[in-house]
Point group: D3
Chain length 197, copies 6
């Protein structure tokens, strides 16, 4: 045992130098770069940087879409910073819908854990891929494509969605088109942008 | 409406050429390259390529570890091929454990959907990050590091784990060390590899 | 000079083995993978694989949007395969518009070479970035975000747009929403997907 | 409409957290990392960060090469920071030439917008790919390979060149070899480096 | 010659702006991000940032494993920061062994420069790839897989190992399992993690 | 022990499906893509795919440069295919020189194992980084930049060079400029390309 301790101390010198890139917990107050947030000092990192408890409870679905998206992206869950993955919780009350949206720069995997969900995406070729998903079913939404989820059960449905990016973004269609500050002239003629002759 | 149709046909010519990289559903029988499987022909792709129903039911936990890992990686779920993400289901019967293992080349995000799980990972600096997770809790395991999951509930526990790779691999420690075909001389002196003086 | 020839022949042996990844001109008939098309045999590659003459003339703008997109993506211009870049030509007749669209997985740089163009994009935060561009002006559209271009001159306008991908895709909004084969029930209630109360 | 406003405010909370990686406009005075400059604070970003007007006019070709390269790289055009693309303008007076050079770490796409240009690159196998390009023609120069452009018209020629990197670098051959501060002994015997026996 | 100088000054203006990403020598005291350390100011960079002399002498092998690993990773050799490569020196006294370990997130190439080494790795499929290497032999250890090296000569053996990452990490197995601060309950029942019934 | 066997067989089913991306030994006769060669079938892979013995002996330096480069790139050593690393051996007889060259798309780390070498590279800013290296010294050559190595000992010198790519390419300057098939008109006026007024 004495030997082991001796060995440990000699090798740990190596390790403490080489470890820096095991992870890079985001320091949300430090400079941010194209690859993500600056790293929190390793000596300050604890297990709680790698655990997120904010998805235990349902999000508030008392809104017009009767749905909620609760993200655990790098901004909420700094442990995923730089690691190419993140997660969110979807809550869909009866008749709830996550309207047509994209995640610029991330693919998504959805798994239903309660209820049932009708989900779909639209490809660049304008094909629709649509499926009613039961509990335990998984669906893949390729990077950057428009997609949506609709509660197809009479009860609350829940899903967890994972992303191939720690900061996948979220661009909801009607926000983008109708709730923004486009010049009034454009707003009056939305068909010029939307092709609705 | 006539106009729209006219417009559609003229633009679809562009689209049908440019779309090829929306996704690349894996053709498991065609040549495979470093980036993944060859793509199934787009004309043969259906919504079922993007849906995986194999995680509905619990895996078989009647084994020595009282646990099961059910993967939806590119080999089982070709829709994720090339998209930088995949998923698996963990089932842990009472006292079940997923023993110490790594995923070479992928980070992992775990969410508990039933029961409770004690999970941990070990960093290169030899620090242990250990937490008891309740239903809805999320934990992050950085790329390539040793980690494990233990059922900490008296009942069956379930988790879904997502990976930052469509083919994350799975190297379980005692397999690697004791169940392989190392020369007998090495097997007789495993401490020379394992540092157990 | 004799020396040089001697030297050439000895070193070319090295070179001919090591060169394979200078480029990978796409073989459109061979298997395709997540990273792009299979490579044409180097011995068959000529300079014409790296030159594209299809953008000399204006595209046909006799359509409802009075505009044309002429792509030189990997499918049309196999020389860009695997090299992380491609280009297209935009032609906008008076009143022409490229309607709101995204390129899943690619950023875009536009340069106006004739006329003037009003261009804009919408961020995930629902902010609009809008500018009237003169000849020689450059505008950047970040990856995956909704954007559009409108002719703001009384004459034909031309722009060249480059992409950070050899196959950037092209998802035009009203195609995605109204010209696809969504179930009639959904089509009748598009507001459930589009949030138009 | 009331409903919409209600909905907007509830969802924008999500969006404002998750958006950070839509873009990362470079802050040229903040620390720089391997992936690019630190990001300007999103609240300070305006459309002018995404527009570059410095390429409207011809560069100064009153020099020995009768040519000018006007870059819109991350250092001049911070909007491209982290987005894998940039652009530059080439002006070639009659007899003008951009001498043999490389861009370490970026492929290039050139489009001729005025006049005509003789362009070429040399592969690792020592093959030359050479073509005279007319207005509207596109040529691809694979990453890191030596290439050049020569005005082949009797008038000024113009091209726009795009790169698969926001900071493609530019290493011009005769600079590298003859204008640097190599020890005089080496300079006196350049053939020892250049193989000109 | 006058002409050249004139030309140099005009072109260097371009160059000095565009060069920033030739390299990013790590500034170990500045913020670190997911892609590596912040860059040292180019004006402060000298050739010594790109040269590492710490591998001239053998590491100290007077320890229980009779072996030493001397790293030249980004933390010791900041010149490799952001460039996707690093190197280390292995010294193995007679009977020396580098015990089973992984490098999370990096592949490794080893070349024997003195003596002879028995090296091996274990795949996810639990296959062992084992070989006795002579001087000049090269062996490849794929990313993230468990591997080891044993001196198979009666004298000191030396190898240089290169990595596909500037900060490859180093997770030695028995450290990870037995020298860490796992709760005593787990330590008393290591078989629950290690599967040794 | 019985238990272990039982457990192995149940888990190996998982493993055998999920392992495919541990490595991708290149099948040099199958289609090649932008990311590298197609993968050899895992069942045909042996340890010899990961071992390269071609660097044991010195390369032939009986040539005009009195030097030899012996590559172990993907084309010679298919085990590195897709793994982001490769290696080569340099032999420099007295007065030997590896003339100015670049590796398009790869950084290089050199370690001297015999003799002494004067090495240098030129940055885009036209700065020269030059150093005389002794045995055991390491030098880094950033991606795509011109560099060279000269024997600075009176005896044979040896170095091993590693690359951040399995197929780094090799573009030697005087080949590129003088030994190729440029049109005679250009060859007669090489200064128009090389800027030697």
């Amino acid at each position: 045992m004495l030997h082991t301790i001796f060995f440990l101390s000699s090798l740990l010198i190596i390790s403490s130098h080489a470890l820096v890139q095991d992870f890079c917990v985001g320091d949300l107050k430090a400079p941010e770069g194209p690859a993500g947030y600056s790293c929190k000092k390793p000596s300050l990192v604890t297990v709680d940087d790698f655990v997120f408890t904010g998805l235990r409870a349902a999000g508030n679905t008392s809104n017009i879409i009767k749905a909620a998206v609760s993200p655990a992206f790098a901004a909420q869950f700094p442990g995923v910073n730089g690691l190419g993955i993140s997660i969110a919780r979807l809550d869909l009350a009866p008749s709830g819908v996550i309207p047509m949206h994209t995640h610029p720069g991330a693919s998504e995997v959805l798994v239903v854990t309660q209820g049932s969900i009708l989900a779909g995406f639209v490809s660049s070729a304008n094909d629709v891929y649509l499926k009613k998903l039961k509990r335990g079913d998984v669906m893949l939404f390729p990077q950057g494509l428009l997609h949506f989820q609709i509660n197809s059960a009479g009860v609350n449905s829940i899903a967890f969605v994972s992303f191939s990016s720690p900061s996948p973004g979220l661009q909801i269609l009607d926000f983008a088109l109708f709730a923004n500050d486009l010049p009034s002239k454009l707003v009056e003629k939305p068909h010029s942008l939307m092709m609705l002759p």
